[in-house]
Subunit: 201 residues, 2 copies
């Protein structure tokens, strides 16, 4: 590796460090019982752990290395674009455009071959058309939903009703029976805990 | 997946969530310029990103899925045992014993087959004898060292001199030329920034 290539990788990693400061809506509860927002770096690790635990549970699992690589890369554009709350409808409308502009900035920090590799992982995840991307998407959404349940529900505070979550969670449930079973159990717990807001009339 | 298996996986993931509250010594600097300790969940994602960027730079790279799985699992015992600062000599002496006891607790929360799989990944990382484990170790140590540099050096505040870091960093440097080049560059930056404490006479 040439000195320039080393310097570019260090520079990119310093930029990627910002993902530890991008807050998501889901909460994590510390040993003192206090809840704080989860950040996107923690989320990325947690999604990898979900993928690792569920990978052996699906028929014809996609290649694990490819799935975990996509998961490690899937939120990098947020260091420029920030996180978009899945239930903020106005913000979601501009998300693709904002993230594309962010990708142009973020991946350009890497040497071209590495930047192209990372960008291809991010694009595959976003397009969601391969089996690996669908598996990664289901892990991503299941983790976000789980975080809502173990963080004792940010939905009620945010005014998010159960039906508002279906558009996001139904595609994940359809990826494989294990996601259907896991997400159904999480819905049961969220309902039992009164974690959703009442649907708007 | 049976309901019991689903419940065990959810229970394990709720326990794993604690990794987001295990503080390491390295620091990360937020957009407001304030530094805080990095946590072990963020670290695990960051190590995966380092592995992804460097995997193509080594001759005969180990299988990426296996490396990334090991990285996702390598710090899970810290939810029971906490993080051990690499330069706290007394604490390091008891680390293996404390982490083994923690592993008995943590991995027992999973169904036996999944627990055995996760434990095997952790043990392979700890033993450091396979090519995949050595690659993962080098990524782990390079990331920790990088965090020291981009967090503007916790070593000085902790009284850690440059020679005290050699025992930890030399094995990583030897794994492949790319690690030697990356870590040498990080040492140059740490020295230029005056980030190490003076060696004790």
């Amino acid at each position: 590796m040439t000195p320039d290539r080393i310097a570019a990788v260090i520079d990119f990693l310093a930029l990627a460090d910002r993902l530890k400061h991008v807050e998501r809506r889901g909460r994590t509860v510390g040993p003192d019982g206090a809840a704080r927002q989860e950040n996107s770096a923690e989320h990325c690790w947690n999604v990898a752990l979900v993928a690792l635990l569920l990978h052996g549970e699906v028929a014809d699992p996609p290649e694990l290395g490819h799935v975990l690589a996509m998961i490690a890369a899937h939120d990098l554009v947020e260091v420029e674009a920030g996180d978009t709350f899945a239930y903020d409808e106005a913000h979601v409308l501009t998300q693709a455009e904002r993230e594309k502009a962010a990708a142009d900035v973020v991946f350009a920090r890497l040497p071209p071959d590495l930047g192209a590799r990372m960008r291809a992982l991010w694009e595959e995840f976003e397009e969601g058309e391969t089996a690996a991307a669908r598996f990664a998407m289901a892990c991503d959404r299941a983790q976000g939903f789980l975080q809502g349940v173990i963080g004792t529900g940010h939905w009620r505070a945010e005014g998010v009703s159960e039906p508002q979550t279906y558009g996001r969670m139904d595609p994940a449930r359809k990826v494989a029976p294990v996601f259907e079973a896991l997400i159904a159990t999480l819905y049961e717990r969220a309902r039992a805990g009164g974690m959703f807001a009442e649907p708007r009339p």
